[in-house]
């Protein structure tokens, strides 16, 4: 094996891995599920604030289980199944969101002058950090959603009407946007299996 051959092989493998990464924008059904969750939850903050926290809690737990189920189905369809990645994402977002809420509540207890609206904004900013870190360390398609959440969480306090609904719509669009760019390489695994 000569060095030129070796370099050509490495270029081929780099291309293969790049192709894989381009076609791995996350399980579409899961992203759609959380987009609907965010849109409904944030709209409830504007139209029925009392129901919003119950919705976030109950639908959040159901959504977690549903995500695991949908991810597995998606993996079987696309032919790429990575339980370790699923566990990392589950732990990151599950624990991350719980910690973001706990940190915001803790801050509210220390600074008693914070209003309910401001605590909500703080939760969104913290969740924005969770998204950004997911983008840096686990799944790049979450990277830009983090800053959007942080900016939206801060801006929502300056919007007089339906600010949360608008923010929910922006986040929902951000979540589903990558699903429109799924690479054509994601074919059903059973296609042409004739070896």
């Amino acid at each position: 094996m000569d060095v030129q051959q070796m370099q050509s092989d490495l270029a081929y493998i780099r291309g293969t891995v790049a192709r894989q990464q381009r076609s791995s924008n996350g399980p579409s059904p899961v992203l759609w599920l959380w987009a609907i969750y965010v849109l409904v939850g944030y709209t409830l903050i504007d139209v029925r604030p009392a129901a919003a926290s119950i919705f976030f809690l109950v639908a959040g737990i159901i959504g977690g289980f549903l995500s695991a189920f949908l991810s597995r189905r998606w993996a079987r369809r696309t032919g790429e199944y990575d339980p370790a990645m699923g566990r990392r994402l589950g732990l990151h977002f599950g624990a991350g969101v719980v910690l973001a809420i706990a940190a915001s509540m803790g801050t509210a207890m220390i600074f008693k002058t914070l209003t309910g609206q401001q605590v909500g904004q703080l939760v969104v900013v913290m969740i924005g950090i969770v998204y950004f870190l997911a983008g840096v360390h686990i799944a790049p398609y979450f990277l830009w959603l983090g800053p959007v959440l942080i900016a939206g969480g801060l801006a929502v306090g300056f919007v007089p009407h339906y600010g949360w609904t608008m923010l929910g719509a922006v986040i929902a669009i951000g979540l589903v946007l990558p699903t429109f760019f799924q690479h054509a390489a994601q074919l059903p695994p059973q296609a042409n299996e004739s070896h």
Binding site: M1, Y81, D82, P188, P189, N192, E193
Partner: protein, 108 residues
């Protein structure tokens, strides 16, 4: 004048794994190091290989103990799932280290 290759080049050459000197086999192992399980069709698409060639290369990796295969039915159609074994992970890591050292030696 001593024309023998430097010792780092020799160790690089010695570290190369004969089974991984085929780029489809190396590519398959690299892909399986990024995701725990991949189907035959997914590997075929990503590696841009024909059914026959990829099947033969994956069989060689399986025979070497670098891959394990599991068959199942999805929508009543057969799907073969591949995952990398511990031996495969060790072989890939050693092979990549050897390639790196060899390329470095040649560049220097």
């Amino acid at each position: 004048m001593d024309e023998s290759p430097p010792s780092s080049a020799l160790s690089g050459l010695n570290g190369l794994d004969a089974i991984l000197q085929h780029r489809s086999r190396l590519g398959a192992l690299v892909l399986l190091s990024t995701a725990e399980n991949m189907s035959f069709s997914r590997l075929k698409t990503l590696l841009d290989e024909t059914d026959g060639n990829l099947g033969a290369q994956l069989r060689k990796l399986e025979e070497a103990g670098y891959l394990s295969a599991k068959k199942e039915f999805v929508d009543r159609k057969p799907v073969t799932w591949y995952s990398m074994t511990k031996a495969g992970r060790a072989a890939l890591s050693a092979h990549l280290r050897a390639m790196e050292s060899l390329i470095k030696t040649v560049k220097n």
